[in-house]
Symmetry: C2
Subunit: 434 residues, 2 copies
């Protein structure tokens, strides 16, 4: 089909709320490693798909899927090796006492389950989230997502949700030059917990992405989660780390981004990269919380934990370990961020470069003092980069943060190419004044 024919059928049979990337949409027919290919065979360097985590169509993952799909795909009501092998392996990547796994079909389902668990275990209902957070597309998760409820079509903050500021030390109220910033942002969480109690409510959980993504790839200041978790636990609530975007070694130094903050959450939610594109998700928690959740109401997930999903999950863990992708992400990411930061010497649009491993944000601003967001410029940049064969996207409350989260097989050479092309594009992008 031609792109025009596809667009016509999309208009007829798909919802208008399903958007396409880029002003000039791409028809992609093949993926391999860090590359996507259009119908003409032109390769595009994929800098943004954190789902196909170990590389598009990784042969080992493909083969594991192909083999198991031909043998058995049924639910968890029968005994099978894969689910317990996978649960053991996954639990083994997490610090004690995180040892019990629940398998679901998506990150949204994982966060939904985490919320049910936290409510059941605490007997409470409310949740503290970070501003600009996105935790999923179900009704309950839109309620926990200021990224959704505070914007077009949103109904505003529900009563049971309390929003703490994103600990953004570039743009937020407490900045990198304030050595107390982490503690002050954590105090704001304590403030929300107190306000909830004063309002006659009680908080079941604090949900936070370990590196807030939709907020603009915000790296938490050192000590933030430790202090915030302290306040949350003091208030009798549970700490939920949403690792749907950032987990599975993307940060390089650790398996899980929360580990970079030196904390152990009560519940961890997993999604996107877990199956390299296969629809799956997971929740990992403590035995105590899993037992509290086992209150007589069975949790059954039709597809979650089936032998195909678990075979794929195992293959993804194998590849991360055997190809040393954590160390690779750490090294490539560090040098990549250095090169991106150097772009700032030549292009004053580049306000901030931040990230951990291969989860990186480049914030574009019109003025380095006022931090006026360079939203239109960011859009121009990603659209021009797409024409040059490099796929990027934008995020953050002002859509002015270039989001970089490629498959982990992304190389130093790829990073060099992105920097080189960005150098050209940034020089030519038309500047706006407000």
């Amino acid at each position: 089909m031609t792109p025009e024919e596809i667009l016509e059928l999309r208009r007829r049979h798909l919802g208008g709320s399903l958007s396409l990337s880029y002003r000039n949409p791409l028809k992609i027919v093949r993926g391999e490693g860090q590359f996507l290919f259009d119908e003409s065979g032109r390769p595009y360097l994929d800098c943004v798909n954190n789902v196909c985590h170990v590389g598009h169509c990784h042969p080992r993952v493909v083969e594991a899927a192909q083999r198991q799909i031909g043998a058995l795909n049924t639910n968890t009501r029968y005994l099978h090796d894969h689910i317990v092998e996978y649960a053991s392996r996954l639990a083994g990547t997490m610090p004690d006492p995180l040892e019990v796994c629940f398998f679901v079909c998506s990150g949204s389902e994982a966060n939904e389950l985490a919320l049910r668990m936290a409510r059941t275990a605490t007997g409470r209902r409310d949740v503290v989230v970070l501003d600009s957070a996105y935790h999923g597309n179900t009704g309950g998760m839109v309620d926990l997502s200021p990224y959704k409820f505070d914007h077009a079509g949103g109904a505003g903050k529900p009563e049971h949700v309390h929003v703490a500021p994103v600990p953004d030390t570039y743009r937020g109220p407490h900045r990198a030059d304030d050595p107390e910033a982490a503690g002050k942002y954590a105090d704001a969480v304590a403030g929300e917990l107190r306000r909830a109690v004063l309002g006659g409510r009680s908080v079941a959980a604090f949900f936070a992405e370990s590196i807030p993504g939709c907020a603009g790839q915000v790296v938490l200041p050192d000590g933030y989660l430790e202090a915030a978790f302290g306040h949350v636990r003091e208030a009798g609530a549970l700490c939920v780390a949403d690792e749907v975007q950032v987990g599975f070694g993307r940060v390089g130094s650790h398996w899980w981004a929360y580990e970079t903050q030196g904390v152990v959450p009560d519940i961890v939610t997993l999604g996107k990269p877990i199956g390299n594109g296969h629809p799956m998700g997971a929740v990992v928690t403590t035995r105590a919380i899993a037992d509290a959740f086992d209150n007589g109401m069975e949790y059954f997930n039709t597809f979650g934990g089936n032998p195909v999903s678990c075979a794929i999950g195992l293959a993804v863990l194998d590849v991360i370990e055997e190809e040393g992708l954590r160390a690779h992400a750490l090294n490539v990411g560090a040098r990549f961020r250095e090169g991106l930061a150097e772009l700032g010497d030549r292009h004053d649009l580049v306000g901030d470069v931040r990230g951990l491993g291969l989860f990186i944000g480049v914030e574009l601003v019109r003025d380095r003092d006022s931090l006026e967001p360079a939203t239109e410029e960011a859009s121009d940049v990603i659209n021009q980069m797409r024409e040059r064969g490099i796929l990027l996207s934008t995020d953050g409350p002002f859509e002015n943060v270039i989001k970089i989260k490629p498959p982990l097989v992304f190389s130093h050479e790829d990073a060099g190419r992105v920097i080189g092309e960005l150098d050209v594009v940034l020089a030519g992008v038309p500047r706006r004044t407000s």
Copy 2:
């Protein structure tokens, strides 16, 4: 691994709320057609897996999955043939004006999306459901599921949910001998709608499975949905048909079970059989509702509608059509139900045999007048049948309904074998008195 080793790892790394089928759990390693095989190679006739809809590991579906997994698996932000081919095909199975598809990862996600759509389109919040209904495992769907909220671990009916009686003409207040039963049950829906308004609330939607499953495989009396939908629409609410269990030709006479009632819902939700075991789901609705939902808040589903899922979905539709599985389900199901009903002549435990196509319930009772549920007997029956190599399960509020919903390739011979074995088992099952 031995079953004991698997059980030990399940205890360590899985939640206790994840239950196994049968007193003597099975370790299943392979599936083919209507059969599952244990490690010794012993075949079990699968009479209960409506997920592996066209047969376990159907070669055509397996091949479609294997091919696409090796080529591309990415999200819907790029143009691709499969998603629009699949959306067109799926929409083509539904009556006008159902023509817009949304793709998700599970039936729970489909019902969550349907609820979000209904609320956005109507600007209202409440929902009328049927008693004993189950619509999914997310927080929002547990709220709509009396099967969950009214039982162990449940918090009872939420304020925004209104429960109408299941139109069960075997056990409910209006029975098969009442020619007005359908209208009376539909009037109860109208009653809930009125009560909601009197309570100062307003109803966004009526959710109903087109054949209520957890309520005990209850075939709706003729005219019920037409009358109920009439009341719902008069009240300005939308009609949601949950076809997660019963869709895709299982009823034989039609693609969709709601068609057997002569109605066209406003929103239809799909899951389980849609991908023959692959994690996927869908929502199909009208352009008007899809447009109302497109209110500025994007709906994005990371995995939903990816090329692998759509290739699998297309292959499932192909197999249903090319193998004539709808006609097959109609014929096999009809003769199967006749044979099951004849068991009632010899075994007074058999209180009722009902169903459409290959979605069948056999309700066991201790007394045909009092209808006292033969719960323990039903459990004995399915456990003894499992020892004889036939997989069945129970459902219904008293867990006394033997649930039969095999892969559609299930044959007349298979049905004959089930009837023969049931004849023996029913004769020997110990009887209880209350």
